[in-house]
């Protein structure tokens, strides 16, 4: 690609600085007919996540899980037909790519949900990606975190995800857009449990595309973790403002 990821003035293709996030907006409890839901805009990537459960296992999933008393966690991810740029996409069910995302999400969230509280029951996480513009997995993880919190599921900590990339000159770029993804350069996706205070951040998921020099690894890693920290702040603010609204109206009478 002829286009430079970082111009001489230090600006990226869409005019951001090297360590700037795209605009993030989120809402909790947008859907009514489910136990918890969230809507997340990350730049031009749009995702709706909804939770149904914890509930009695349906026969279908109980049969699959013949072990019996374990917690059943189902994740379904769907790209809307109109989500990608240009033409309508054919709906591919059970594709390899989706299956991989689903398994990854399952493992990410099983590491934070307090599983022992939900023995014998089933939790369904449904994710619909309405529009894609890079960093889909990271948006999906953030939206799912919000939906789980909206549903009142017991978790140890928020999980925030962020991406980072690298220019040819070895400068780390935070939060990769679609244009930057296809311009080449490696993409690192991280899902982490950021903890303010004395705790170290612990990482739940790492995905890396393409090769680059080992000396750059720490740089790109730190950049993504810093992004996670920033995103945590944004999620926290959204959750608190949502909670305040509910508390002020609801619990006054209790």
């Amino acid at each position: 690609m002829a286009q430079e990821l970082l111009s001489l003035q230090g600006l990226r293709i869409d005019g951001r600085r090297q360590n700037e996030l795209r605009q993030i907006q989120c809402r909790l409890g947008v859907l009514e007919r489910c136990d918890g839901s969230a809507y997340m805009l990350h730049g031009n990537t749009k995702v709706i996540a909804s939770i149904s459960g914890p509930k009695h296992p349906t026969k279908n999933s109980a049969n699959k899980n013949r072990g019996g008393d374990e917690f059943i966690f189902n994740v379904r991810v769907k790209f809307a037909t109109f989500s990608k740029n240009g033409e309508r996409q054919k709906v591919v069910k059970n594709s390899k790519k989706l299956g991989e995302i689903e398994i990854n999400l399952k493992n990410i969230f099983k590491s934070v949900i307090l599983v022992e509280k939900y023995e014998k029951s089933q939790l369904d996480l449904n994710i619909e990606i309405l529009q894609t513009d890079g960093s889909e997995i990271c948006t999906v993880v953030n939206a799912a975190t919000l939906a789980l919190i909206d549903a009142g599921i017991c978790m140890k900590e928020y999980i925030c995800a962020c991406t980072a990339s690298l220019t040819n000159d070895g400068v780390a770029l935070l939060d990769v857009s679609h244009l930057e993804e296809i311009c080449g350069g490696p993409t690192l996706t991280i899902a982490a449990l950021p903890r303010t205070g004395d705790h170290e951040q612990s990482v739940a998921y790492v995905e890396l595309s393409q090769k680059f020099y080992l000396k750059d690894l720490n740089k790109i890693f730190d950049c993504a973790l810093m992004g996670c920290e920033k995103i945590r702040g944004i999620l926290d603010e959204a959750i608190r403002s949502n909670a305040f609204e509910l508390v002020n109206s609801e619990l006054t009478n209790n």
Binding site: Y158, E245, S249, T252
Partner: protein
């Protein structure tokens, strides 16, 4: 022309408003509640490195040394004596499985219902075979929580004439946290509508029926035609409850009555409009606060 309104998810209006100053401290997931060691952890908390941390987003409730966090929205957690409304999902030997909006399905044993006729007698094999005659899959019923098992599932009973199968009416489901615990959850409103407010967030709205006369142990189903005025009143109450729920007003007999009075200046169908819902919810809240 049809009047169509399209609301974007992101711009979905917030139907809540600050009326009183109330400075509840909200704890979020992973936040440290206390560093002192001499507290016990309750629901909604976990211990890490000797610190008690919150595992849900909500407000802290402390009872002596027990600290628990009450989430703002969750599935129904049953307590003995609660009135619930449920739907039969499955019939097993000697028991019905009932969906009560909780984490696990509840059970209604055949030994904890009043058999038709109302008299007390032994439950024999014949009764077990005719279970489906009393309650089928997808039937709705009202019941009381008799016991809470170790795993959190509930055992129900209908050993009173006021409980039993529900026949004609409307079911609304709201968040269980919006239901106020009261002495009585069965109300006959002055507008000719009977409301059962289940603690599990299911609310049943039906025309007033006289249970005492039927004497069938609450399993008779009356399918008589209901007059138009009654049906309108039912629908109006249903829309009022929905308006209250979308404004997060606690739901109990007084608030429903206030919302009903407030709604009389509109037609029942106009109550589905979001602005009208908000107005009714807001005015009801004001009235409730004045009363306090």
């Amino acid at each position: 022309m049809a009047n169509i309104k399209i609301n974007l998810l992101m711009n979905k209006a917030k139907y809540t408003s600050d009326l009183g100053e109330n400075n509840c401290r909200i704890y979020t997931t992973g936040e440290v509640i206390t560093e002192q060691k001499d507290f016990m952890r309750g629901h909604g908390t976990y211990v890490e490195d000797g610190l008690i941390k919150s595992s849900v987003v909500g407000v802290v409730r402390q009872i002596n040394k027990l600290i628990s966090v009450v989430p703002l929205k969750s599935k129904y957690v049953g307590e003995i004596g609660d009135v619930v409304i449920g739907r039969v999902t499955e019939i097993q030997k000697k028991r019905w499985k009932i969906d009560t909006n909780s984490r696990l399905d509840s059970v209604l044993l055949i030994s904890s219902i009043n058999l038709p006729g109302g008299e007390l007698r032994r439950r024999n094999a014949e009764d077990e075979q005719s279970m489906r005659k009393l309650l089928q899959e997808e039937d709705l019923l009202s019941a009381e929580v008799q016991n809470v098992y170790v795993d959190g599932s509930l055992s129900l009973h209908t050993r009173s004439l006021k409980y039993g199968k529900l026949s004609q009416g409307i079911l609304i489901s709201v968040s269980p946290s919006l239901i106020k615990r009261r002495k009585n959850h069965f109300h006959n409103l002055p507008c000719g509508v009977s409301v059962i407010i289940g603690n599990n967030g299911y609310i049943w709205i039906s025309p007033i029926v006289n249970v005492e006369i039927e004497g069938q142990g609450g399993f008779a189903q009356s399918l008589d035609a209901i007059s138009k005025s009654d049906r309108e009143a039912i629908v109006r109450i249903k829309n009022c409850v929905q308006a209250l729920a979308s404004c997060y007003v606690m739901i109990y007999d007084t608030s429903i009555t206030f919302a009903y009075e407030e709604s009389l200046k509109y037609e029942a169908k106009e109550l589905l409009n979001h602005d009208t819902m908000y107005e009714i919810g807001f005015n009801t809240k004001l009235k409730l606060m004045q009363q306090e």
